[in-house]
């Protein structure tokens, strides 16, 4: 018979429930989306580096990047990147405010979260509106 593993340090303690067990709350959503958008932006820098390296390589190598950037998939990547960027900036400003000891209560997180989601969506759509209007 195998018995449950007994930790060396003491009695068997309950494991912390994982992400899908918890009811979603605003501060949890903000925290998860902040990290997820940060990781997405890190991946997105590959496209920025590609653009710069391709442009430095001359007009022919740049054309390869340009073709991708204007394709539907490239546009989708750029749109997602813009959204992640504005969310990360807005959420990051909240973090900077919280670092000063302000807005650290649950009701403040609920309010700030709504503002962050609305402003970041508005900035994303506004940027792409400008882009498509002038292009």
């Amino acid at each position: 018979m195998s018995s449950p593993q007994t930790p060396i340090n003491g009695p068997l303690r309950p494991l912390s429930p994982h992400l899908q067990i918890w009811k979603w709350s605003m501060n949890m959503a903000l925290s998860i989306f902040h990290r997820a958008s940060g990781i997405a932006l890190s991946v997105g820098t590959l496209m920025l580096v590609w653009m710069l390296v391709a442009a430095a390589g001359g007009s022919e190598s740049y054309q390869g990047f340009h073709d991708f950037a204007v394709s539907w998939f490239g546009q989708l990547c750029l749109f997602g990147w813009t959204g992640a960027l504005f969310f990360h900036i807005c959420s990051g400003v909240r973090h900077l405010i919280m670092d000063t000891g302000r807005m650290i209560t649950i009701p403040a997180a609920e309010k700030a979260g709504m503002v962050i989601f609305i402003v970041s969506i508005a900035l994303t759509l506004g940027t792409w509106g400008c882009l498509k209007f002038f292009y």
Partner: protein, 146 residues
């Protein structure tokens, strides 16, 4: 703590305790993340505005070259790259520290990530410098030798 000099009276209690916390240098990391976050706000907004204005004129190769030919644009872009890639390395470091629990592979992930960030930064910064200092190549006139 096994070193002999740790027991000498030349180091005080605080000096010996310093750096022995779980992350060894938390405040330094936190402060740099916050400083780069502050710097990123204007730099990123400038970069987005620049990309939108470049896209508005078609974003062809000549317009990209013309953009970086302006020293202010090249300097701002280099500042943007430095701040963004440093901020990114600090952020990814925390992600790796949170999710990689194997003490043997964790340093490998951290080193690989930091080297990768450094490589991306150098590639991007070199490209900006090359674009900004590009000399328009005029076809050389071939002089016939007698």
């Amino acid at each position: 703590m096994a070193q002999k000099w740790e027991a000498t009276p030349f180091k005080g209690d605080i000096a010996r305790a310093r750096g022995l916390g779980s992350t060894h240098a938390g405040v330094h990391h936190w402060m740099h993340q916050k400083l780069t976050a502050l710097a990123n706000i204007p730099l990123v907004l400038w970069a987005v505005w620049s990309v939108v204005s470049l896209a508005a004129v078609g974003a062809d190769h000549a317009s990209i070259q013309g953009f970086f030919a302006q020293p202010a644009h090249a300097i701002l872009m280099l500042l943007f790259l430095a701040s963004v890639f440093y901020h990114m390395a600090l952020g990814l470091q925390v992600v790796i520290e949170d999710y990689v629990h194997c003490e043997k592979t964790k340093p490998l992930f951290l080193m690989g990530m930091k080297l990768g960030c450094a490589a991306l930064f150098v590639a991007a910064a070199y490209s900006v410098l090359k674009l900004s200092m590009a000399v328009v190549v005029v076809p050389a006139v071939v002089v016939a030798q007698p």
